[in-house]
Amino acid sequence: MNTRHLNTVWAVLLLATLATWAIGEIGDQLGIAGPLAMFLLLTISFVKGRLVVLDFMGLRGVKFFWRGLLIGWLLLVSALIAIAYWIALK
């Protein structure tokens, strides 16, 4: 992993954090609320988590088994949060 790529990942993670924060601060005014906000927040955190797993943890070039375990964790946790959110809407 070269430094330029690590810096790019860092910048993307910071921008994604800004997006998460903005949804919390001005999401309502932008019409991003409720299930749409939930979906966007989970998507952003998945994208961020995936970058940390692949590029910071260095699993990009490793057998799928290991990447699958960590990215699978992200997907499972996101799915459980989404299901709980959906139940809360009822």
Binding site: M1, N2, T3, R4, H5, L6, N7, T8, V9, W10, L13, L14, T17, T20, W21, I23, G24, E25, A37, M38, L41, L42, I44, S45, K48, G49, V52, V53, L54, D55, F56, M57, G58, L59, R60, G61, V62, K63, F64, W66, L69, L70, W73, L74, L76, V77, S78, L80, I81, I83, A84, Y85, I87, A88
Partner: protein, 214 residues
């Protein structure tokens, strides 16, 4: 674990290589094992499992009392949570740069990046400390309500992991300064770095879930 490590690529093997997800060992397919010691990965998986159960418990508890959770969430300091996300992401990036530098035999540079990572972790603890002081000062504790029971226990569980991660980073910094790691011996620094990234990974889910989602 040595035989597994032997098939691994080190960051310095292909200087200037592009970011493409290339096979880590050309001709041999992807590396069999992740960076660092295999044992740390089992530890990381156990930690992720624990946090995963905690996150699910929070989400389903919220489903039972949405009004309480949504109103209590408004009493949290979202700016502090966002700042702490920036600090942990930056700390993680610094440690990734440290591993990259050590992989190119640049221990002094690696040590400086580790120190920057430690500073980010310290910043996280300070910001979280102010948040806790604010809440405790307002008389909030574990028995205030279900939301705060989860908020305090979940974030404090994570807080303890940041402290452990910083202890590991300090140990790595001391050894890196002594030149203990290099392209031929990345095991220790990669293992410690993986743990630190796990602490970041968990917060990446925790922040939107607890501070933002409503």
């Amino acid at each position: 674990m040595g035989q597994i490590k032997a098939s691994r690529r080190h960051p310095g093997d292909t200087p200037g290589m592009d970011a493409a997800p290339a096979p880590s060992h050309p001709g041999h397919g992807p590396a069999a094992a992740p960076p660092g010691d295999l044992a740390i990965w089992f530890f990381i998986l156990a930690e992720l499992l624990a946090f995963g159960v905690f996150f699910a418990a929070y989400a389903f508890a919220r489903a039972h009392d949405v009004e309480l959770f949504d109103s209590m969430q408004q009493t949290l300091d979202r700016q502090a949570g966002a700042l702490n996300t920036v600090l942990l992401i930056s700390g993680s990036a610094c440690v990734a740069r440290a591993v990259e530098a050590v992989g190119r035999s640049r221990s002094a540079t690696g040590a400086r990046w580790l120190l920057a990572g430690i500073a980010c972790g310290g910043g996280f603890l300070v910001v979280k400390g102010f948040e806790y002081a604010d809440k405790f000062g307002a008389g909030i504790n574990l028995s205030t309500n279900t939301f705060y029971m989860f908020y305090l226990s979940l974030t404090f569980f994570h807080f303890m992991h940041v402290i452990l991660g910083m202890v590991i980073l300090v140990a790595l910094w001391v050894k890196t300064r002594q030149g203990a790691y290099g392209p031929a011996d990345m095991n220790g620094i990669e293992s410690g770095a993986a743990y630190w990234h796990m602490v970041d990974l968990v917060w990446i889910v925790l922040f939107p879930l607890v501070y933002v989602m409503r």
